[in-house]
Structure formats: structure tokens, C-alpha cells
């Protein structure tokens, strides 16, 4: 249905409260470490054999919970930067951003990367730069292929794109199909 207009994801570090995409993005899990104890919640932890979650426990938390617990000034939880945003991978991206399979490394590569900036880290400026440059490096290909693939199977073209890029691709395809439809006199 053309009239169904879901709430789009937020831009950059913002989330849209009602956006289904943002809710799913914030369900992604991050490696964290508790910096204080959480009494009576031991059952949440993998081993789950203690009553409390002890200080210093390494566990995976969904992004929404890490954001909810994180405090700049107090040590409650520390969040590990996922590998794909760290120096090693940033070097790969700066060499050639187009070769990376962002569906596999993501699928919310840009979204999750932007959200990581909510957690203080000396790497943040570099992470932000890397996200931006990677996007710029890949955007042209996504745009071009979306404008040239008419009436064909696009699964190979989109399989290595992250979610944001897929949305852009779909948008490009929608414009292309609309134009073709008009050219053929089928838009009336």
C-alpha cells in the first residue's frame, strides 16, 4: 500500500520513539561489563546461578538497556565498542569501503555505529569520521545501481548493503519505477 507511511528511523544519534526500525536496531546486543552490582537480578546473566549480578560481570546487553543504564558521571555499566568500529576495521574501511559486506558486519552498521556515540569513548571522533567516510565512499554505487536496475532481480546488488543503504536503494528503485511508469503512459 502506497498510503502506508511508517515512522522512519531517526537521523544520526536520534531515535524515533515509534519507529519499528529504531526499536529493532536498539535490540542489537553489545558486550558490556557491569561496574556495580545488580542485586536480585542474577537470573538475567548467562550462568544465572547467583542471586545477584556481581560487579565486574561480563555480559551481553541489548543497546536499549545499555543506554538506559549508562551514566557519564557514574560507573554503572561500561560498553565495549564492537569490532567493526574499532581501529582494525576502520583501516579496512578507509582503504576501500565498497568491498565490505555490511549486511554481515551489521546489519545496522550506520545505525548502531551512531548509537555507540552515546557512550563516552576516546575513539568516538574516529568512529564518527569512519561512519561518515564509509557512507560517502559507498553511496555512489548504491545510488547508481538503484537507478540502473530496472525490472530485474536485485538480490545480488543489495545483499552486501546495510539496512540504511537498502532503504536508500529501495527509494531509488521506487523513483525509477515511477519514472518508467510515467514514460510508458501508465501513470494516469
Amino acid at each position: 500500500s502506497q498510503a502506508y507511511l511508517p515512522v522512519p528511523p531517526g537521523v544520526g544519534m536520534e531515535e524515533n520513539f515509534f519507529s519499528l526500525d529504531d526499536i529493532l536496531l536498539s535490540h542489537e546486543r553489545l558486550s558490556c561489563r557491569t561496574e556495580c552490582a545488580f542485586p536480585r537480578l542474577g537470573f538475567l546473566e548467562k550462568s544465572g546461578d547467583t542471586r545477584d549480578i556481581a560487579e565486574g560481570t561480563k555480559m551481553e546487553l541489548p543497546l536499549w538497556l545499555a543506554k538506559g543504564l549508562y551514566e557519564r558521571k557514574r560507573r554503572v555499566v561500561s560498553v565495549e565498542v564492537p569490532k567493526v568500529y574499532r581501529e582494525g576495521w576502520r583501516t579496512v574501511f578507509s582503504a576501500d569501503p565498497t568491498v565490505v559486506d555490511l549486511q554481515k558486519m551489521g546489519p545496522y552498521y550506520y545505525g548502531l555505529g551512531s548509537q555507540m556515540l552515546h557512550f563516552d569513548s576516546p575513539e568516538n571522533p574516529d568512529v564518527a569520521q569512519s561512519l561518515l567516510q564509509t557512507f560517502i565512499g559507498r553511496f555512489r554505487r548504491t545510488m547508481d545501481s538503484s537507478q540502473n536496475a530496472y525490472n530485474e532481480d536485485t538480490s545480488v546488488l543489495v545483499e552486501r548493503l546495510d539496512c540504511l543503504e537498502r532503504a536508500l536503494f529501495r527509494s531509488g528503485q521506487s523513483g525509477l519505477n515511477g519514472f518508467q511508469s510515467w514514460e510508458k503512459g501508465r501513470a494516469s
Binding site: 500500500s1 502506497q2 498510503a3 502506508y4 507511511l5 511508517p6 515512522v7 520513539f17 515509534f18 519507529s19 519499528l20 526500525d21 526499536i23 529493532l24 535490540h27 556495580c36 552490582a37 545488580f38 542485586p39 536480585r40 537480578l41 538475567l44 541489548p62 536499549w64 538497556l65 538506559g68 543504564l69 554503572v76 503512459g185 501513470a187 494516469s188
Partner: protein, 144 residues
């Protein structure tokens, strides 16, 4: 981890990216509300203990449960809101009388919301184009 049922509701809708309206998941909603009730009661108990017995160490757990409550609230609100967007789209696709198989997927309150939406739209359309009003749901494509 808490809030798994809530995100399942979101996935149910996200899978149907073309705007289809699935059956109203009353049971799913009930489960999420039940989880919220349990979390809230556990927090009330811990808050009383924190205040009454000076157990400040319980505060991190209280905050965690509160994050879960907010998450569940968000997921439910977004689930319901997205369904309304799909239902709204139906007015534009099908007109003011919905097919029975679609109505069957809506809860009573959604039918009421749809009825109100139709009225608002009709009032708006009557206010356009002078005395006769203007049906903007017609002629969605330009003439040849």
C-alpha cells in the same frame, strides 16, 4: 532478558513491510502488560526497602527494571501506532467500507478509531472547495 515478547510484536509488523494488517495480537499485548505488572511490583518492593532500610545498593536494579518498563511501554505504543498507520492507509486504498477479512483483523477499539478517522477526514473534505466540498480520495492519479 526482559522485553522479548514486546519485540516479537514489533517483528510481526516489521516483517509485513508492504502495509498488510495482521490479526490483532491480543494475547501478546496481555503478556507484555503482565510482565510490566510484575516488574513494577518488584520495583515497588525494592523502592520501599531502599527507602525504609537504607538499601541504596538496590538502586541499580530498580533502574534496570525501570528501563525494561519503559522499553515495554515503547514497544506496545509503537505496535499499536503502526497498526493505526496501516488502518489509516486502508481508508485511502479501499474507501470507507473495509473488506470483511480486514475488519476481522481489527480489535473493537481500532474499528472505533477508524470510524473517528473517517469522520475527521469527511469534515476536512467538506471544508474544501466551497459549498460542495472536495473528495480528495478520488482521482489519485492525474488524467491521461
Amino acid at each position: 532478558m526482559f522485553c522479548e515478547k514486546a519485540v516479537e510484536l514489533i517483528r510481526e509488523l516489521h516483517r509485513l513491510s508492504d502495509g498488510q494488517l495482521p490479526a490483532f495480537n491480543e494475547d501478546g499485548l496481555r503478556q507484555v502488560l503482565q510482565e510490566m505488572k510484575v516488574l513494577y511490583e518488584q520495583n515497588q518492593s525494592d523502592v520501599n526497602e531502599a527507602k525504609g532500610e537504607g538499601r541504596a545498593d538496590l538502586i541499580p536494579s530498580i533502574k534496570l527494571r525501570h528501563s525494561c518498563l519503559l522499553r515495554n511501554q515503547r514497544c506496545l505504543a509503537a505496535y499499536l501506532y503502526d497498526r493505526l498507520l496501516r488502518i489509516r492507509a486502508l481508508r485511502w486504498e479501499y474507501g470507507s467500507v473495509l473488506p470483511a477479512n480486514v475488519r476481522f483483523h481489527m480489535c473493537a477499539e481500532e474499528l472505533e478509531w477508524f470510524s473517528q478517522y473517517k469522520k475527521s477526514l469527511a469534515t476536512f473534505m467538506r471544508s474544501l472547495g466551497g459549498d460542495e466540498g472536495l473528495d480528495i480520495t478520488q482521482d489519485m492519479k492525474p488524467p491521461k
